[in-house]
């Protein structure tokens, strides 16, 4: 019986206990050589100095639901700044009894995002469903029809505003970015230079200068008597900004398509529009899905800049809670909570992007 012999043989030369199992792993990964050992010990010491006090501050000595007066007597974190002002932080000045509407709109958005995570479900019907869903969200937020009371956009705020700015920003910036990328690759000198100037100009300046432009200069551009509300102006600035970055990403995808594809499409008689729509763009856009998701992530993070032009997004509602004398001095807790929300959003997007990257490299 050869297998029995083999088993016996294996039993004889089994590796020493110190190089397999938990001990082996620890030895190989933490105490491999004097330098590594020193590094491990120093790191463990720092973790020991920082970890337990932080844990005590966050969970043991902290106040979760009490009033502000209780926080002042306690050495730990004051999480009740969140629990007491939860609805204001999340929804801003949206009428209190109507706040189920933005909540429902957000749930619809999350539902759609969750359903669309699988690439096999990306069909035309899903596209139409997205359009219907986004309009439904708009109606829910705005009201004025279907028996919903109208809510001025100046009352919008908190997390829904952050989500609206990033989702609508990206949806509108995407086609614009594709046009700019095609313009930059165009053989017509005037169109090409217009696109290049636009892209480089926008990418060269910080977003905040565009937001200033939207909030202070844009009203001057309009003819007399016409005003556009503040959120829309910030939204336009975000769209114009994001489009330039998307254009560069899409250009990368276009450059990755071999010449043969263009020539093949031309040889079967497709014109420019059909070549792009049927042959080039489907391939180019597929290559650039992962970098597009990173643009989405930075657009999501960048919406926080609207604080500077005094829109009540998630960060601004938090700050206005902090300016309340009762809750003054608990900024760290509030910012940690907001950071957690942003982190969850960005981390799930980044994870999704990595998953897509793996899938795309397989097929």
């Amino acid at each position: 019986m050869p297998s029995a012999i083999l088993q016996n043989h294996e039993a004889e030369i089994r590796p020493p206990v110190t190089s397999v199992g938990v001990i082996g792993w620890v030895k190989q990964n933490l105490f491999d050589g004097w330098f590594n050992t020193l590094l491990t010990l120093v790191t463990v010491y720092f973790l020991y100095r920082i970890g337990p006090p932080l844990f005590r501050w966050m969970f043991m000595d902290s106040v979760w639901f009490g009033p502000a007066s209780e926080c002042n007597q306690n050495p730990g974190a004051c999480w009740s700044i969140i629990s007491s002002n939860f609805r204001f932080i999340l929804f801003g000045f949206y009428p209190y009894d109507q706040q189920w509407r933005p909540l429902l709109a957000m749930l619809i958005l999350f539902g759609f995002l969750y359903y669309s995570r699988d690439r096999r479900r990306w069909t035309k019907r899903l596209g139409y469903a997205w359009i219907i869903g986004l309009s439904a969200m708009g109606i829910l937020m705005r009201g004025g029809i279907l028996g919903l009371s109208a809510v001025e956009s100046s009352q919008w705020g908190g997390l829904p505003l952050t989500l609206i700015l990033s989702v609508f920003g990206l949806t509108a910036a995407y086609p614009l970015g594709i046009f700019l990328a095609l313009g930059r690759r165009s053989k017509m000198p005037i169109i090409k230079s217009l696109s290049v100037v636009y892209i480089e100009l926008i990418r060269g300046v910080p977003l905040i200068s565009l937001l200033f432009m939207g909030s202070i200069i844009f009203p001057l551009f309009l003819p007399e008597g016409i005003t556009i509300n503040k959120i829309l102006r910030a939204q336009v600035a975000i769209i114009l900004f994001t489009a330039a970055y998307i254009a560069e990403v899409v250009r990368g995808g276009l450059q990755g398509i071999p010449r043969g594809q263009y020539e093949a499409a031309e040889s079967i008689g497709l014109n420019y529009y059909l070549t792009m729509r049927l042959v080039i763009l489907p391939q180019a856009l597929k290559i650039v899905i992962p970098p597009t998701v990173s643009i989405l992530i930075s657009a999501f993070k960048d919406t926080s800049l609207v604080v500077i032009i005094a829109l009540f997004d998630l960060l601004k509602t938090t700050q206005s809670v902090l300016s309340n004398p009762e809750w003054m001095g608990f900024s760290k807790e509030a910012y940690i909570f907001i950071a957690l929300l942003y982190f969850l959003g960005c981390f799930s997007m980044a994870n999704y992007s990595r998953k897509l990257e793996r899938e795309l490299s397989r097929d």
Partner: protein, 391 residues
């Protein structure tokens, strides 16, 4: 000439050449019309609201104070000088930020690749967390830490002798000025110039004769040794201007304001996460075979690194690194949110006082465009220099 003959027969809207000219003229006309429409609206509105135009306001008195400045400035100075102060403050935070970011980012990037499981995981967690939190939020957080968590000057923390941490900022000791400093600096510059020439000469000699020359040792001696010798020659002046508590604040030394510190920490900690990823990718891009090949032809450890690994890794690292440095510079404009007087912040005050928003925003854009274009010019020069030369 069959080609031109056939193009005469088809109507002009089917001729690709004429059609492209038509499309371009149309595009140009649309852009021109749109700008004419916007400009005429702007002029009309400005006239209506009686806002002045042009950059004449730059020569007027600014009449506002600026918290910190590298050059002398008072409220009686002009707007132009105020804006220069702002631009210098931007340069200051960007320069210090870039240096610290590269150091921290490289350390974290190398830590991410460490064989030590604990260190590598910690670096990974740092990168993930910092990349996923908006930089503005991080700025607010550090600002809050300075204002809410650090004690008043009277109870200032004193982590290292001479260094104080309190809610008025960070107080550091500075060297008291001494005539020797000028000569030390001169010796340092001389040392650098000498090393550059030495390196060129050594390379020429090596190419001609094949003999190596200990460039590094001699250069290090010149760059560090010369200033130290000058310092010894002047009798080792070491008098430090140490900050001391007097009344409610510190005197002496130098003070880094909480705004500056919060901005610097936020920008450095955030950008370092991205730089770490860049460094990691760069190091991983050099194949293992390169090191083995270099060692097999007899290069020493240091030579393997400087002659084989680094030149290849830097080719991958430098372009994304520059764009991260540019991001840091652009993000420094968020200073306006925490009240550090950078260029955007000063320009914003100027806009609020003069009402000349178009000129103000245009100035902001021009200054940042200048930074960007200068950086991309450098990038192109570098790319040309290090590009792979193939047959």
């Amino acid at each position: 000439m069959a080609n031109t003959g056939s193009s005469e027969n088809v109507p002009f809207w089917f001729d690709p050449k004429k059609r492209s000219i038509g499309a371009q003229i149309l595009a140009l006309c649309m852009v021109g019309l749109l700008s004419w429409y916007l400009i005429s609206n702007v002029l009309h509105n400005l006239e209506k609201q009686s806002i002045a135009t042009g950059f004449g306001f730059l020569k007027k008195e600014a009449a506002f104070e600026i918290g910190e400045s590298l050059i002398s400035y008072s409220a009686a100075d002009t707007y132009a000088r105020a804006l220069v102060v702002g631009a210098l403050n931007t340069v200051k935070v960007a320069f210090i930020g870039i240096v610290l970011t590269i150091v921290l980012g490289t350390v974290i990037g190398i830590a991410r690749l460490s064989k030590n499981w604990l260190v590598s995981r910690l670096a990974g967690a740092y990168i993930e967390v910092m990349q996923d939190i908006p930089v503005l939020l991080q700025l607010f957080f550090w600002y809050a830490v300075f204002y809410e968590s650090l004690p008043a000057p009277r109870l200032a923390l004193n982590p290292v002798p001479g260094v104080f941490l309190c809610n008025r900022g960070v107080m550091l000791p500075v060297l008291e000025s001494h005539p020797a400093h000028f000569y030390i600096l001169l010796a340092f510059v001389l040392g650098i110039v000498f090393s550059v020439y030495l390196k060129r000469w050594a390379k020429k000699r090596r190419d001609a004769t094949g003999k190596p020359f200990p460039v590094f040792t001699l250069s290090a001696f010149m760059v560090l040794g010369l200033p130290i010798m000058v310092w010894l020659g002047f009798g080792m002046p070491v008098k430090m201007d140490v900050p001391r508590l007097s009344g409610f604040n510190f005197e002496g030394g130098t003070t880094l304001s909480p705004e500056f510190m919060a901005l610097l920490m936020g920008l450095v900690l955030y950008t370092a996460a991205f730089v770490a990823e860049v460094v990691r990718a760069g190091i991983q891009s050099v194949g293992k075979g390169q090191r083995e090949a270099a060692m097999s032809i007899g290069l020493k450890g240091g030579q393997v690194l400087t002659l084989v690994i680094l030149p290849q890794a830097l080719r991958v690292i430098v372009p994304p690194l520059t764009s991260q440095m540019l991001n840091l510079t652009k993000n420094s404009s968020l200073a306006v949110a925490i009240g550090y007087p950078d260029f955007v912040s000063v320009a914003n005050t100027t806009i609020n006082q003069t009402g000349q928003s178009i000129e103000g925003v245009a100035l902001i854009m021009i200054v940042y465009l200048f930074f960007s274009l200068a950086t991309s010019a450098f990038m192109n020069w570098y790319n040309r220099r290090v590009a792979l030369v193939e047959r």
